[in-house]
């Protein structure tokens, strides 16, 4: 087993939202004040891009995902209340939701990653084949580097539920990388 080691929240993250400055900034952004929006963007773009690029691996696709995330953030920012969880985490969760969306019909298993792909690309494809909940937890846990209780707080789930999703997500990921279909995903009825 390769000794990769964990990076300790390697991404460039802004100060947590409990910071009064960011809270005020978000409150102003909720009124769509251009200066506040620009400041929020400048403070979070790079970290979000790195997060998305980790999961996507392609510059063009990452840019498109980040663009969608920021546009969705514009829609949702008036309802933003999770100041204690951090604005960056909120953006990352939107990114997880965007990455989970695909044209795959509901109920069909995700296509297995092609064996000829490089290992990192296979892993990314396998991650994007996880369920939205599993992707949400694994992304925040291992890409954003949040501890389990912070993931629980920011997603509104219990710690036990986060641990279970993490467990099932890693199992599903292992099966996908081994070329085995996920037995828990229902197969389309003919």
């Amino acid at each position: 087993m390769a000794e990769l080691g964990f990076r300790q929240v390697a991404l460039v993250r802004s100060a947590p939202a409990r910071d009064r400055g960011e809270r005020d900034l978000i409150l102003r952004a909720q009124r769509y004040e251009p200066e506040a929006l620009a400041e929020l963007f400048d403070g979070h773009f790079e970290a979000l891009y790195r997060y998305v690029h980790t999961l996507v691996g392609d510059a063009t696709a990452s840019e498109e995902v980040v663009r969608l995330v920021f546009l969705r953030a514009l829609e949702g920012i008036p309802r933003y209340r999770r100041f204690e969880s951090g604005f960056a985490t909120w953006l990352e969760r939107i990114a997880n939701a965007v990455l989970s969306e695909s044209d795959r019909p509901t109920g069909l298993p995700a296509p297995l990653p092609a064996k000829e792909l490089p290992p990192a690309a296979r892993l990314r494809e396998a991650i994007r084949g996880l369920t939205p909940d599993q992707l949400d937890v694994l992304g925040l846990r291992f890409v954003a580097g949040l501890p389990a209780d912070a993931v629980a707080r920011s997603t509104g789930r219990g710690v036990g539920r986060v641990q279970a999703l993490q467990h099932r997500g890693l199992l599903a990921l292992g099966r996908a990388l081994a070329g085995e279909p996920d037995p828990t995903t229902p197969v389309e009825l003919q």
């Binding site: 769509y32 004040e33 963007f41 510059a59 980040v66 920021f70 892993l123 580097g145 641990q163 890693l170």
Partner: protein
């Protein structure tokens, strides 16, 4: 994947990840465990995710996304301003003016006071001389008297009041309250005297006759029951006073009756002429 592997529980996986994050070696993080092999595989997988390469965005990418974001922000800002700065419109049913609202408040307060007063007056009507509301009852009776202007109607009201005083006397005597019984008895006779005086000065018509007959009924009320009650409650002083009041009224009654009874008509038929000598035939 080897299906014979024992799967670790979510808690065991979390503990292993926490130990690894704290800097423990893989073997130490996994520990001696039946599911150690699978745990190690999952730990390795998680570390592969952590180690996925990433890179910083290009400058072109930043400016493109920034422009799109700020353009979207401007569009949302226009909507937000429109929603939050709507011009004031005249209400379909405007509120009444300041003066009218105060008038309504005062009218409501007056109405409330009127209802409270009426309720109090009605409650006072049931009160007796030993009640705190009794003075209110007497005032209400004065208003009733003032409202009746003709002598006959005043006499009728006074007879009702006399009846009331008589009942008050009975109640007070039964409760052993001699002083209050004497007061009520005195008021009873006073009302009778005043009613008699009013009737005496009134025109004799049908209503007068009705009230006149009521007068006879009310003034003829026996006081035996009251006397018995006072004796039973040992109110001897009150008993003596009430007896004196009765005797006094008995004297006054003769003069009242004299005023009320019409003079006896002369016998009908032709009277014999007096004799020239002055002697009657």
């Amino acid at each position: 994947m080897n299906q014979m592997l024992v799967e670790p529980s979510p808690r065991q996986l979390e503990d292993a990840i926490a130990r690894r994050m704290a800097g423990a070696a893989v073997a130490e993080a996994v520990g001696i465990h039946p599911a150690a092999e699978e745990l190690e595989r999952m730990l390795a997988l998680s570390e592969q995710i952590v180690a996925l390469p990433t890179r910083a965005p290009g400058t072109g990418s930043r400016s493109r996304v920034r422009d799109a974001f700020l353009q979207g922000g401007r569009e949302h800002r226009a909507g937000w301003v429109y929603r939050h700065n709507l011009p004031l419109r005249r209400a379909k049913h405007p509120l009444p003016s300041h003066g009218i609202r105060w008038g309504l408040v005062v009218a409501a307060a007056l109405m409330l006071a009127l209802v409270a007063g009426i309720s109090l007056a009605l409650a006072a009507q049931l009160s007796e001389p030993d009640s705190g509301l009794y003075p209110l009852k007497l005032n209400t009776e004065r208003l009733l008297l003032a409202a009746n202007r003709t002598p006959v109607s005043q006499a009728a009201v006074r007879l009702q009041l006399a009846n009331q005083r008589y009942r008050d006397t009975e109640a007070m005597a039964a409760r052993g309250k001699g002083g209050l019984a004497v007061n009520s008895m005195s008021a009873y006779y006073d009302q009778l005297r005043l009613a008699g005086a009013a009737l005496a000065g009134a025109r004799r018509d049908a209503s007068w006759k009705t009230v006149r007959s009521q007068f006879d009924t009310v003034e003829a009320k026996p006081i035996d029951n009251i006397v018995t009650q006072l004796q039973n409650t040992r109110q001897t002083a009150a008993l003596a006073q009430i007896t004196a009041l009765r005797d006094q009224f008995a004297k006054d009654r003769k003069s009242i009756d004299a005023k009320l009874n019409p003079p006896t008509a002369a016998p009908s038929g032709a009277q014999p002429e007096p004799l020239p000598s002055g002697a009657r035939p």
